[in-house]
Amino acid sequence: MHYGMIIDIDKCVGCHACTIACKAEWEVPAQFGRNWVYRLGPAQTSQGLSYTYYPGLCNHCDQPSCVDVCPADPVSMTFKDAKTGKTITMEVAATWKDPFNGTVQIDKERCIGCGACRDACPYGARYINEDLADDESMGKADKCTYCVERLAEGLEPACVQTCLAGARIFGDLDDPNSDVAQYVKKGAKGLTSTAVQIGPNSMYYGSKQADMELLMQSAPQEMPEASLRRRMLAQMTKPAMKKIKEIGLLGLAGSLLVSSLDNNKSE
């Protein structure tokens, strides 16, 4: 099982219903979004005029840049494959990539709201909801979950359900017969660039070259610098953190260390 979403920009009419349905479903503050629609053009491309849309959301990347940078205390978490019943137990911080369904998730209970994951995402797919700040956190990170909670109830993701164009297609990329896999076969692709190749699983299909050319201009051209530094640091410190996971404050101290390094850099 490997969830992915395809957006068929031939069908998309740019109505923005997906973004508002998501806000309603997940009580996303008005100024933020777990997903977005950017209207692109009309602009000239090498293939003629194009006026299209970039309906974006978390890419639940194969190599997510947001996961390793999380400084929250790791805990041991057991994941279960819904199909086979197989389990895997992993040490995870407050955000992780599910080994069975491929989605990237957040544990808001343990999120300290430091913003490292938000800063690490080249797609801008995460935000920090500061309204949820408490004694232990500066807020809570939030982003698209591919509506796994709805999937568990047999429902479609909220954005897919409301899409009047049938332009959002959700399913299992591992299943070659699935609609999403068929779209990939037909040429659906994620927004990647030379510098940003982290395996996005939200992908786009369009038969008009002009539209795809314009859309691909929305691909991020570089990895956020904070992300690179934090990832490097995380790789150095994480093994140690894992051993002493019961000492709760290290997460915060770690994040302070990281942010001070960051400050030094910007000075």
Binding site: V13, A17, S50, T78, T162, D211
Partner: protein, 738 residues
């Protein structure tokens, strides 16, 4: 105990257990019985009740809804799974209905203006006082000047009942519905003059071979089942022709984009028809059987060669020819879309007549992919106020132009001019119900003059708008989520599917908040106080809907049990109506000295240094009605002005520059907007979304966001046959502010 209990300490014991279960299962309740606010929102599907029977009115397409309600609070709106129209899909605005419902700026109580009109100071009053005042003032005006002294500006489903009271029973003909006089009235009357019926948007798009749009910008203009039809057509391989000065959302999906000079569409249509006739590419048998006055028509449009139209329309001859041939090759399975908002240039009746004639020439009535009205349910009873004895004194009797083809009501300008001048008779009372004439009717200064000379102005709405600033008494109405009124009927959206019909009466999804009341109650209470109590047709909203449904053996309870929508077997809609007559030449028009065949009437071109102001729809907004919606405004809170890239370069404007707009009469926009530089618009026009820049500070989100396009539409253009407004004959220049 404070909710702000440290989550970390609370979770100390829970976190280890929680770590191994899905997040959604994390316990949200401590053993100490302290309930903490959930960090993970529960979603709309957990612990909610699904309430059926919603019918949307974020716009007027009226999708069928269900509400997800938790503890009496509406948390989410979805399409009703039983719907054969919109299905489970709803648009951005439909989804944002929740934010409209709970908007803290909404009207909550009856209010009295103790300040000035336009600069109101509100004082909360009781319903008793509000109703007594409205009835006393309105009755006083009727007694002093006659019922004609009342001007009514209604809009929306809930406005029908009150305006019929004032029109039928009290007896004023001075009703101006925005949906007619500033929108689709021209279309409806032009089709009545051509095929004897208003057309709706009834083209069989899913099954067509060619879809022909003039100005239709689907995707920016969003009506769910209409878009489903459009997209199904494209998916099925239909060719799309889009005539628009702008590279619109539809143009971007088109096979042929015709970047026509604004105002000249009729010239192009006449040239296409002339070409079809001269080259015998039209359906002669069909025209023979159903046409009237074809010879006069053919003779009359002869001057319209492709070359002549190409110059007038500023498009290549080859492109007009390509369009004509594409239509002819695929006839009769072609969809000539009648449009919806068509009050553009003051010459629009002619264009709409031409569209109906073109449909006839191509034999595209009643056939797959052509003009095919759905066959919806019949037999719903009508509820109406009885007509009084009074013989209405109509303003059209006094006007130079009788506007013989006016849609029902009275042309807006006749009402406004009479009010301002007092001639031929005074208009001293104004009832506004759900309409916002300030941002609907061109020339705001005149509208304000009209309002200022009134003895009494009453407004009913769900929220403050620009017009409510001018009310003496302001009444808070239940929104579409809190009331019964409209019964939506129709068929399955795609005629290729099993034929079905539906009946979906609007039912409230939640109880009304604060002191909001429904329109039936408000109207009845005013009617009683004005002395019309014995004429009241129904006692309340439930009785009204049940009475109407009784005509088909249904009731609200029964339909609620059926999931909010009643379905029944449908009827094949194809086939040409035996009575169909296509009046290529219309004698009635001739008799009234209007052009009897479709005729091109040129409009002024932009003066040097100015560009024509065009406006259209944002997919996130319905005119100005959604301007305070937190979700919709977060996604789209301004209306950047589209400027051609070459023009921008010449003017020294860059994408994102802030500008104000000044029109040909020197009227300046009160606010500013940004420039959107694009090759996707002609050089002689600019474009912006309609409905922004509200002047009412009570709209804490929408106030002064973007530019109010209507404020710049000061020069009037009135369609001579219908009296409807044309609103695209104003020209602007852009002045860089920063």
């Amino acid at each position: 105990m404070a909710i702000h209990l440290s989550r970390r300490s609370f979770l100390k014991t829970a976190s280890i257990a929680a770590a191994s279960v899905p997040l959604s299962k994390v316990v949200a309740k401590a053993e100490s019985d302290v309930v903490k606010a959930p960090l993970v929102p529960p979603g709309s599907f957990k612990d909610t009740q699904t309430v059926v029977g919603g019918v949307c009115e974020m716009c007027f397409w009226r999708c069928q809804l269900v509400g997800k309600v938790r503890d009496g609070r509406l948390v989410k709106i979805e399409g009703n799974p039983k719907s054969i129209d919109n299905g489970v899909s709803i648009c951005a605005r439909g989804n944002a209905g929740v934010k409209m419902l709970y908007d803290p700026d909404r009207l909550k109580y009856p209010m009295k203006n103790v300040g000035k009109r336009g600069e109101p100071k509100w004082q909360r009053i009781t319903w008793e006082e509000a109703l007594d005042t409205c009835a006393e003032k309105l009755k006083g005006i009727v007694e002093e000047h006659g019922p004609e002294a009342l001007a009514i500006f209604p809009h929306g489903a809930s406005a029908s009942y009150p305006f019929h009271f004032f029109e039928h029973t009290v007896g004023t003909p001075n009703v101006s519905e925005a949906s007619f006089f500033q929108c689709r009235g021209i279309r409806d009357m032009a089709y009545v003059a051509t095929i004897e019926k208003p057309p709706g948007e009834n083209v069989d798009m899913p099954n067509t071979k060619v879809l022909f749009l003039i100005g239709g910008h689907f995707g920016e203009n969003v009506h769910v089942s209409h878009l489903k039809r459009y997209l199904k057509g494209l998916e099925n391989g239909a060719k799309l022709i889009v005539v628009d000065p702008r590279f619109s959302a539809s143009a971007s999906k088109a096979d042929v984009w015709v970047p026509i000079r604004p105002g000249t569409d009729t010239a192009m249509l006449l040239a296409i028809m002339n070409y079809l006739i001269e080259n015998e590419l039209y359906d002669a048998d069909f025209v023979d059987e159903y046409g009237e006055g074809f010879e006069e028509f053919a003779e009359g449009i002869k001057e319209w060669t492709l070359a002549k139209a190409a110059i007038e329309c500023d498009i290549p001859v080859a492109q007009i020819k390509q369009v004509a041939e594409m239509l002819a090759e695929n006839a009769p399975n072609v969809a000539i879309h009648p449009g919806r908002h068509v009050s553009w240039y003051g010459n629009d009746f002619q264009r709409q007549r031409a569209l109906a004639c073109l449909t006839g020439l191509l034999g595209a009535f009643g056939v797959k992919g052509g003009f095919v009205p759905p066959k919806g349910p019949k037999g719903l009873k009508k509820v109406s106020w009885p007509h009084g004895e009074h013989e209405a004194d109509r303003l059209t009797e006094y006007s130079d132009n009788p506007y013989t083809f006016s849609p029902p009501g009275t042309p807006t300008d006749l009402i406004r001019d009479a009010a301002i001048t007092g001639k031929p008779y005074p208009i001293k009372g104004c009832v506004v119900w759900g309409q916002n004439p300030i941002q609907t009717i061109p020339n705001q200064e005149k509208t304000i003059q009209m309002l200022q000379q009134m003895d009494f102005v009453m407004c009913t709405d769900i929220q403050p708008t620009d017009i409510t600033m001018f009310a003496d008494i302001l009444l808070p109405e239940c929104s579409y989520l809190e009331r019964y009124d409209y019964i939506k009927t129709g068929t399955q959206w795609n005629f290729a599917d099993e034929h079905q019909q539906y009946i979906a009466p609007r039912m409230p999804l939640v109880e009304p908040g604060f002191e909001r009341k429904d329109g039936i109650w408000i109207t009845n209470e005013i009617a009683k106080r004005m002395g019309y109590g014995e004429h009241i047709p129904v006692k309340d909203q439930v009785e009204m809907v049940n009475y109407r449904l009784s005509g088909v053996g249904l009731s609200l309870d029964k339909i609620r049990e059926e999931g909010g929508i009643h379905l029944q077997p449908g009827v094949d809609p194809y086939g040409v109506d035996e009575d169909l007559t296509i009046h290529f030449y219309n004698e009635d028009l001739e008799d009234e000295d209007y052009p009897p065949i479709p005729t091109y009437i040129p409009v002024d071109r932009a003066p040097a240094g100015y560009m024509r102001l065009l406006y259209g729809r944002s997919p996130l907004h319905t005119f100005n009605r959604t301007q305070n919606n937190a979700w919709l405004m977060a996604a789209n809170d301004s209306n950047p002005v589209w400027v051609n890239d070459k023009v921008a370069e010449a003017l020294g404007l860059q994408d994102g520059d802030t500008v104000k707009l000044i029109n040909q009469d020197g009227v300046e926009s009160r606010t500013t907007t940004t420039v959107k530089v694009t090759p996707g618009i002609r050089k002689d026009a600019v474009y912006m979304y309609h409905g922004f820049g509200s002047r009412n500070p009570e709209l804490t989100i929408g106030h002064n966001k973007g530019v109010d396009d209507t404020s710049l539409i000061t020069r009037l253009a009135v369609d001579p046959e219908t009296g409807c407004h044309g609103m695209r004959n104003n020209f602007v220049k852009l002045v860089k502010v920063s």
